[in-house]
Each structure stands twice: as structure tokens, then as C-alpha cells.
Amino acid sequence: MSQASNKVFANGWMFAVYLFLYLPIVTLVVFSFNDSKLVTVWSHASTRWYSALMQDGDLISAVSLSLKIAFLSALMSVFFGTFTAFALHRYSRFRGRTILHSMATTPLVMPDVIVGLSLLLMLVSLQQWLGYPERGLFTILLGHALLGTAYAAVVVTSRLKEMDGRLDEAAMDLGAKPLQVFQLVTLPLLAPALVSAFLLTFTLSFDDVVLSSFLSGPGFNTMPMVIFSRARLGLNPTINAVATVTITIVSIAVIASSFYTSHVERKRKREMALAYSDGNK
């Protein structure tokens, strides 16, 4: 094959993949501005469903519940995930390390349905014995944090592996007590990983429907649950509107963060080049 036709093929392939990935999303966004009551029939453009969304108390409260849960569970996940990662990374030998290691990562591969079901069974029997916890926000939070901890642990562990262990020793050598070492050296260097772990677990929680369905109680419907149940009754264009809002927010966040990272990287490269060009004066 000639180089030109190779390039045509490569571009065509790329286009096909992008089409496959983004056509549904684009369709959704376009139809969110459709005036028609029927989701699949285009009449003319309007923001009718966005105003309907403003009036839709159920959906709004579902979104705010989802955001609340996502935020709190991401915090919990990063907190516990970091400690798990530390235990696994720093202390190479302790009783039950292998078990902790495999247990910490099991939720990654375990089907959500199984995790959700087993959590539900446990919570139900707990409630029978102790009368606590009532199913609702707290139980959903617990489930999401469980899943998120596993993900956060993986992210933080990989960063810890990259980090130079001698930095901790250097800090200690210069008189920092173990807690100060963590606070002054480990934590600042870990910060990027903590942020990405937070974002990852936030999104995981925000779009989870399986665990939430198992663990929620009456009156606690998260956004994906509401969308899911409404979609089963026949699609409503308000769903398109809420989805478009979500997509917009996510896109802005993703684009901003990638701009920021590439900016930091470019700046760093420039500075390094500068340092080497003015040599060893």
C-alpha cells in the first residue's frame, strides 16, 4: 500500500472510531434542543426542555443528591484509599499483607451486582439486629466509598511506587518526625494523585446505578436512578436536557484539566532546557 492510501485509511479509521464514540452523544445534545415531545422526531429548536428541567423538582433533587453522594464518597474513598496504598507500599512485610492486597482490589473486578447484593444482605441483617442503619443516603455512600476506595488505592499506589523513597529519608535525616515527613514531603508530592483519585471516584459514584439501586431507601433517588426509571417508562426530553448539562460540566472540567497539565509540562520542559543551557556556572 502506498503511503498516501495508508494515510487515507488511517484517517478514515480514526473518523469511524470517533463517530462511533461521539455520534450518540451529539445526537443526545442536539435532541435536547428539540421542541417536539417525541424524543426521536425533530420539529424545531427550542430550550423548552431546559425550562422544564428547572421545574422538575424530582430531577433537581436527584442531581443534588447525586452530587452530594459523589462528593462525600470521593472524599472517603481518597482518604481510605490513601491509607490502604500506604500500608501496602510502605510496609512490605506484615501479617495479612497478601490478603489485604487482594481484598483491596477485589471490588475492581467483582461485578457491581454481586457487591450491591451482598452489601444489601449485610445491611438488611444488620438492621434487623441493631435497627440501624436505615437505608438511604448513608448506605449508598458506604457502597460507593467501598468501590471508590479500591480505585483510589490503585491510583495512589502507582504514584507512591514512582516516588523516590529517599525523599522521606532525607526529610527524616533533616529532623522531620514521621508525621512531619508525611505532611511536608509525602502529601505535597502525592497531591496530583489524590486529585485524580478524587475525580475518578467522583465520576464513578456520580454515574453508578447498580449499587445505588440496591442500597437506597424510599425517597433517596440518585440522578442515574431517576434517568433509568424514566427511560423505562418511555424517554422524556427532559432527560436529554439534564444529560447535556452534565456533559457540558464534565467537558469543561476535562478540557481545563488537560490544558493545565500540558501547560505545566511545557513550562517544566522549558525551565529544564534553560537550566541545562546556562550550564554549570
Partner: protein, 376 residues
């Protein structure tokens, strides 16, 4: 000259003050691996003490025990008379300059140097003046606000040094201080480092696998192997009078002959080897018929085309390899027994001085005090 190995304890130097005393220290990993095996050592105040050995010889473990990152399985460490064996690293008045520096990447040069001072609850003014002094000492004043990745290798090395000296430690540990620099930079940096250390007057323990680094920087060197000291001495002592075949072999280049003592007099001995007969101009602690090794450094051999007079201390061979280094040339000569002996000639004229080329027949000869007789 005694060639029997000296007992591996420190020779007493009463006039100097002992700063660091290590007593019978042993480190065993996982219950079986002996990384450091019953080492005792005195480091005098103001000296630069070198720990030299290949990788895995235990030198780094020993250094880490001094710093407080590892606890010895057995033995004690004293600093200025105080037992510090169980003191955690952050309470020891010992600072370390790490291999590849371990500078804090998120802090500026200024903050890196101030890190240790801040832990001591010094006043802001005191910290500032101390950091400024350190920056000046290491010629880093104009880089104070840079981050480590904005510095070249040599500058990073100076930051590491300034940081480890900032707290005025009683003892400075240097872990392969020049390992991360390229060859040209090493030579200048080496001298800079020694000058700064001498200016400050701090006692140092230097760990390195590079004998050149140890030779030029340290006032005394301990050659380490498999967790114990093979020999302790000044650089020239270790080079010219190694106490065993392995030390002779580890430090510098050496031609090793194996032979038997055929004449044993108080003022000279004769050692008969396959290739030649050595006449050694001093007595040895050995007896007649004893199997000994004779170590001969390449630079102590002279090459000629004419046959030397007498029956001792020469050997003939054919030039099989010429390695040109610029300042000197190493000739590899194959003797009639088939072994290759290295001889080094200084290129003190611009044409290759002895005019030998591949395949030439040549004679090597040396003085009767040039070789070292080794019984171990």
C-alpha cells in the same frame, strides 16, 4: 615490611579525638543474610573517611545504620561518646548527602536548604542568615528561588551539600556524592566538595564504589567486601601495600604472579614463578618453600627492546594489544607461558616513547622494591 595481614581493628591514634565509634556492628536481613559482619571502626574528628567496595559489600547498609535508617542487629554506635544506636534518624546530629541528592522537588533551593533549620524551631532571622550563608558557600545565591528541576547536575549537587551542611552536623555522610555527574564535571566538583568540607571542618564518612573518588577525597579508606573490612589505611597505603590479593586486585590494575619462595633472607627473598623470578629487596613474614602471590602494578614495569642484565625481575613477551589513553599507553604482552601481562608507559614525548608495535618482542623489567608479596 610486614606482609602478613593486619588484624582488622583500628590502629590507635591517641593524639586525635574519636568522633564516631562503631563497635562490633552486625546487620542481618531476614535472619540469614549478613550485610554487615561484626565491624568496628573509629572515625577521627575532622577526617574524611572512605568506605570503598563493590555493590552489595555492605557499605551502604553501614552508612544507613550511622544515619539511623537501619537498626543494627548487634553492636553499638557512639557519637562523641554518646550511645546513638537506638536514636531515630531525626534526632541524630548527623546529616547525609544522598545518592542522586534526593532534593525535595516541590520546594525551591532556598526552602530545601531551610528545611532542616525549620525543624529545629530556629527564629526566622536565624534561618534566613544561615540559609544565605549556605547559599554563598555553595555559590548558589542567584539560584535561590529555583526548583531543583531547573538546575543542572552540578548545581543540584551543591544544593544537596548545602542542605546537608545547613544544620552544622557533627558528622556528614556522603553516599556516592559524585555518582550522578559526568566525568569531566566530577573532577572539578570533587575538589570543590573537598574544599567546602574543609572550610566547614566537618567530619565525613564517604561511601563509594569508585576508587578514584575514594583516593582523591578520603584521608583514610576502608576496603569492604562481604560485610567486613579487608583493609583500613591511607590511600597510598592501600594502593602500595595492599594486605591481600583481593585488595590488590580491587584497587587499581595489577599483574598477579603465583610462585614459591626459594630464598628467604632477612633483607631479601626470591620468589620463583612460571614466567620469571622475582628478587624482592626486603624480608617477608613467611618461610622457605611457601606459596605466595606477587603483585606488580603495570606502571612499575619498564619496557625495553634489549634484554635486561641479570637473572631477576624481568620477563619477555610479545605485544598483543596496545591501549592508548593519551597520557599513557598500556601494552599487553603475552609471555611464553601464554599469560598476558600489562605494562604502562607514560607518553612523555609526542611520538610513542618506546616505539613498540603489535607483534614486537619486548622485555619487561622492574625494580626490586616494585612488587608486593602477598600471603593472603
Amino acid at each position: 615490611m610486614a606482609t602478613a595481614p593486619k588484624p582488622q581493628t583500628e590502629t590507635k591514634s591517641a593524639e586525635k579525638e574519636v568522633l564516631l565509634r562503631v563497635e562490633g556492628i552486625t546487620k542481618i536481613y531476614d535472619g540469614t543474610v549478613k550485610a554487615v559482619d561484626d565491624i568496628s571502626l573509629n572515625v577521627m574528628k575532622g577526617e574524611i573517611f572512605g568506605l570503598l567496595g563493590g555493590s552489595g559489600c555492605g557499605k551502604s547498609t553501614l552508612l544507613r545504620m550511622m544515619a539511623g535508617f537501619e537498626r543494627p542487629t548487634k553492636g553499638k554506635i557512639y557519637l562523641a561518646g554518646q550511645d546513638i544506636t537506638n536514636l531515630p534518624a531525626y534526632q541524630r546530629p548527623i546529616n547525609m548527602m544522598f545518592q542522586s541528592y534526593a532534593l525535595f522537588p516541590h520546594l525551591t533551593v532556598w526552602e530545601n536548604i531551610a528545611f532542616g533549620l525549620k525543624r529545629d524551631h530556629m527564629s526566622k532571622d536565624q534561618i534566613e542568615s544561615r540559609v544565605e550563608a549556605m547559599l554563598k558557600l555553595a555559590q548558589l545565591t542567584k539560584y535561590a528561588q529555583r526548583k531543583p528541576h531547573q538546575l543542572s547536575g552540578g548545581q543540584q549537587q551543591r544544593v544537596a551539600l548545602a542542605r546537608s551542611l545547613a544544620k552544622s552536623p557533627q558528622l556528614l555522610l556522603l553516599d556516592e556524592p559524585l555518582g550522578a555527574l559526568d566525568k569531566k564535571l566530577r573532577e572539578t566538583t570533587q575538589l570543590e566538595l573537598v574544599n567546602i568540607i574543609e572550610e566547614v571542618g566537618v567530619t565525613c564518612v564517604l561511601v563509594t564504589h569508585d576508587q578514584e573518588e575514594a583516593m582523591t577525597m578520603a584521608s583514610r579508606i576502608a576496603v569492604m567486601s562481604e560485610g567486613y573490612f579487608q583493609q583500613i589505611g591511607a590511600p597510598d597505603e592501600i594502593y602500595e601495600t595492599p594486605n591481600s590479593r583481593s585488595v590488590a586486585d580491587f584497587i587499581g590494575n595489577v599483574n598477579m604472579f603465583e610462585g614459591v619462595v626459594t630464598v628467604d633472607e632477612p633483607d631479601h627473598v626470591v620468589v620463583k614463578c612460571d614466567e620469571c623470578t622475582h628478587y624482592v629487596g626486603h624480608g617477608i613474614t613467611g618461610n622457605l618453600g611457601m606459596a605466595v602471590g606477587v603483585a606488580l602494578r603495570p606502571e612499575k614495569i619498564t619496557l625495553t627492546k634489549t634484554k635486561p642484565k641479570g637473572e631477576y625481575n624481568w620477563c619477555e613477551g610479545e605485544v598483543v594489544e596496545i591501549v592508548y589513553f593519551g597520557d599513557h599507553t598500556t601494552y599487553h604482552l603475552k609471555t611464553k607461558t601464554g599469560r598476558v601481562i600489562k605494562a604502562q608507559e607514560i607518553n612523555n614525548t609526542r611520538d610513542l616513547s618506546c616505539g613498540l608495535t603489535w607483534g614486537d618482542h619486548a622485555y619487561m623489567h622492574w625494580g626490586d622494591l616494585a612488587m608486593i608479596v602477598l600471603t593472603h
